[in-house]
Amino acid sequence: MLKIERRRTTQLSTAIIVAVISIALSLIIAAVVLKLMDYEPLKVFSITFQKTYFRKAGILENILMIIPLSLCALSVVIAAKAGLWNIGVEGQFFAGAIAATGIALAFPNLPSPLLITLMFIAGAAAAGIICLISVLPKVYLGISEILTTILMNSIILYFVRFFVYSAWKDPKTVAAQTPEFSAAAKLPILIEGSRIHYGILIAFIIVVASQYFLKKSVYGFELRAVGENQKGAAYAGINAKKYFFLSMFISGCLAGVAGMLEVSGIVHRLQPTISADYGFSAFVIAWIARLDVLAIIIISYMFAGLIVAGFKMQMMGFPGAVIFMIKGLILLFILGGEILTYFKFTWVKKDKKVLSKKEN
């Protein structure tokens, strides 16, 4: 008889073994598919793998992508710790990008530090306020924040189109984008020869600050208490409403900062394609990292590799659909494997036989 038991605790080693097996299984299935398409799976994998994780250019690209991924994942975490689901990270990312772009285009001649600070504040505040608005219906009317945050995504993505096709469209090109920012609005490059900009330091500071906020501060303690048990927190004298607002505001701000850093540090203009689904990937990253702030950085790096590998394969001439499929397979297996880290499957011999033998 197969018996399923919930594990009382999960060992780190179990989690790692499960993750490795999950990835191996997904690669095997991907290999079969590639073989059916007349590719050499091993060759494809090794080239992609090398280019992504072992060549300097690949590694630098991965590191660059940690910035938006980890900030967006943190955004998910801060909301989740207060017991809320912020599924509007993608939209908030763009809200931050829009606000930052607005400032960059309106005041192109301000001194650079001032302009970038303004862009930072505007990006964070815009996304924070939008996220805050999304949680109002929950607090006052009991409408699930999952719905409101998802719907907010569509609204903002349409705003992006409005700005790039109409209000702020670059008159010089036919492409859907705004004019390029002035030099003052661009974050300087940190590592010569790569695209890694000063935003990585900002992201690093934010990660450390979040870790302090959640783990050490009085507010983080109260926020987590609200998230774990709203009734119990109210009983201990904590105002749950306050933390719903606070966590959602911070959550939005983080996604907004990610959007601001992307336009100011890399793209230097607003485009509808600035996000490689960062907001949605962030969700997966946050949950694979079990909402642990430090684990997010590692998982973000791995995940960045997955996205970068996809770009590399596309450059090698693979159809986009195959790349999506492989990415999907890996995620599916990792998330499926999660079950193994929470539950234990054991075979139990039927006791009846033992008993009847005894009786005989």
Partner: protein, 511 residues
């Protein structure tokens, strides 16, 4: 000697980490009232859930009238003549009594023959003297009436054996007496009854034989006539029970700590649940609140701790009016031992330390600037946990893994160590084993001796009678006048619990 109706042989059932039933055997004779006695967690409910097909045993046999049967669902159990009335009723609130009785019963056919059905229910109700109105909606019934519906539901299914799980826990003393008459009547008609309880006096009153379970093992089965309560208690808990010593207090001259005037509040459904309540508690006084659950006790506790907004009236603590959030009440020295330990009383996923400092983290010395000083928190938390003897695998264990008794000790540690002026204690011993109950009582008495005023809300009349200095009863949001504990009789309390205003001249009419 009568034939064995039911026999359980070497039943074993394990859950992750615990052995709920360790080779338990039980034999119940046809037509007897067999009591199953044991503490919470002794394995009574698990054993009965196996019998009615909710759990499947890891090993062991179930024999009915000498034949081995496999019971895989409650329906199977009913086909084998076994029906159970659970402690928490399994009724659909929005349906009528008759609908509840036939729900899930397939012999009914596709269409309901209403006349026949009503007649049959009426017949059963008359035969067994179980008064119910088939057309009433279950939501409107009192717990006692709901229990009768559950019993009729089982009799309608022609069960031979009825299992009652802690049936008196929701009843008034008078209703309990009526239930016992009903049970004897059923026995006289050849039905077999298994009566689960941990109340010794009830077992002495109703049972023919009694089986005692302790820590998943059966200790002994014996005839009631051959035993006495003290022996049963010893067998049940493995040692003698401690008597609680309570000093007589003279409270007349003490100042008021809590003063309620015309307190009213509305419950979650928008109905009036506290109706102009007046109450005062003096320094060092324990005031007991009796009543059938759902008559406003929960809301009273919530209102007195800031968890529920009041619609009228005033709350004065130590002479000053309090109104507002739970924090305001905590600041005024009101501690709260909530009825729902895990849902309200703690943050289940937080560690023992984090939970025990839940009322101290926000001020020095644990709070330093914006941060929580982990070291100081650990030190203070450990001190509190060891003072109240909380047993835990480690201090970083999540509280949800603690036993009920240890969880309650942790809550007591937190609530009592902030030197409260007033304690609102709601069902403080519900679901605890005997030694944990003794411990909770000891701490409450100790607090009282320090001069803390205590409002003790409980459904356990014995507990109220031993601990309280004075008592009041709640019914439908109203509260009777507070009276000295010695000026109440059990009967009077019972009548007040049913909402009947007890007067001398009515006494005979009601009896």
């Amino acid at each position: 000697m009568a034939e064995n109706y039911l026999e359980l042989k070497n039943i074993r059932k394990t859950f992750p980490g615990i052995i709920a039933n360790d080779n338990v055997s039980l034999s119940v004779q046809e037509g007897e009232i067999h009591a199953l006695l044991g503490e919470n967690g002794a394995g009574k409910s698990t054993l009965m859930n196996i019998l009615i097909g909710l759990y499947f045993p890891d090993s062991g046999q179930v024999l009915i009238k000498g034949k081995e049967v496999k019971i895989k669902s409650p329906k199977d159990a009913i086909f084998n003549g076994i029906g159970m009335v659970h402690q928490h009723f399994k009724l659909v609130d929005s349906l009528s009594v008759a609908e509840n009785i036939i729900i899930g019963w397939q012999e009914q056919g596709l269409f309901i023959k209403e006349k026949e059905l009503l007649k049959k229910i009426k017949d059963i109700s008359i035969t067994y003297d179980l008064e119910i109105n088939p057309e009433a909606i279950v939501r409107d019934l009192s717990p006692g009436e709901k229990q009768r519906v559950e019993i009729v539901k089982m009799l309608y299914r022609n069960v031979e054996m009825l299992i009652l799980d802690e049936p008196t826990s929701v009843l008034t003393p008078q209703e309990s007496r009526k239930l016992f008459v009903n049970l004897r009547d059923m026995k006289a008609r050849g039905k077999t009854v298994i009566f689960i309880s941990h109340k010794l006096n009830e077992i002495m009153e109703i049972a023919d034989r009694v089986t005692i379970l302790r820590r998943g093992k059966n200790i002994k089965t014996m005839n009631k006539s051959g035993t006495e309560p003290k022996e049963l208690a010893r067998l049940m808990i493995g040692r003698d029970m401690q008597e609680i010593e309570k000093k007589a207090n003279n409270l007349e001259t003490n100042p008021d700590i809590l003063n309620l005037k015309g307190l009213s509040a509305i419950n979650d459904e928008g109905r009036l649940c506290l109706d102009k309540i007046d109450l005062c508690i003096k320094k060092g006084e324990i005031v007991g609140v009796a009543g059938v659950s759902g008559n406003g006790q929960t809301e009273l506790a919530e209102a007195l701790t800031g968890l529920r907004q009041t619609s009228a009236g005033t709350i004065e603590v130590d002479g000053k009016a309090v109104k507002g959030s739970p924090k305001d009440f905590i600041k005024r020295g009101v501690s709260h031992i909530p009825e729902d330990r895990i849902g309200t009383g703690c943050i289940p996923a937080f560690t023992c330390i984090e939970n025990v400092i839940m009322k101290k983290y926000d001020s020095a010395p644990i709070r330093k600037g914006f941060s929580i000083d982990k070291k100081t928190a650990h030190q203070i938390g450990m001190e509190m946990l060891s003072t109240y003897d909380v047993r835990m695998p480690s201090e970083s264990t999540p509280v949800k893994l603690l036993s009920g008794g240890n969880m309650q000790k942790l809550i007591l540690a937190r609530e009592l160590s902030c030197n409260p002026k007033l304690i609102i204690a709601m069902h403080p011993t519900y679901g605890l084993d005997v030694s944990a109950v003794e411990m909770v009582h000891k701490y409450l008495i100790k607090e009282q001796e320090k001069g803390t005023a205590i409002l003790l809300i409980s459904e356990d009349l014995d507990e109220l009678l031993t601990l309280s200095d004075s008592l009041t009863v709640m019914f439908k949001g109203k509260m009777t006048e507070k009276r000295d504990i010695h000026k109440w009789t059990i009967d009077e309390i019972g009548y007040e619990m049913m909402g009947l205003n007890y007067k001398e001249e009515e006494k005979e009419a009601l009896c």
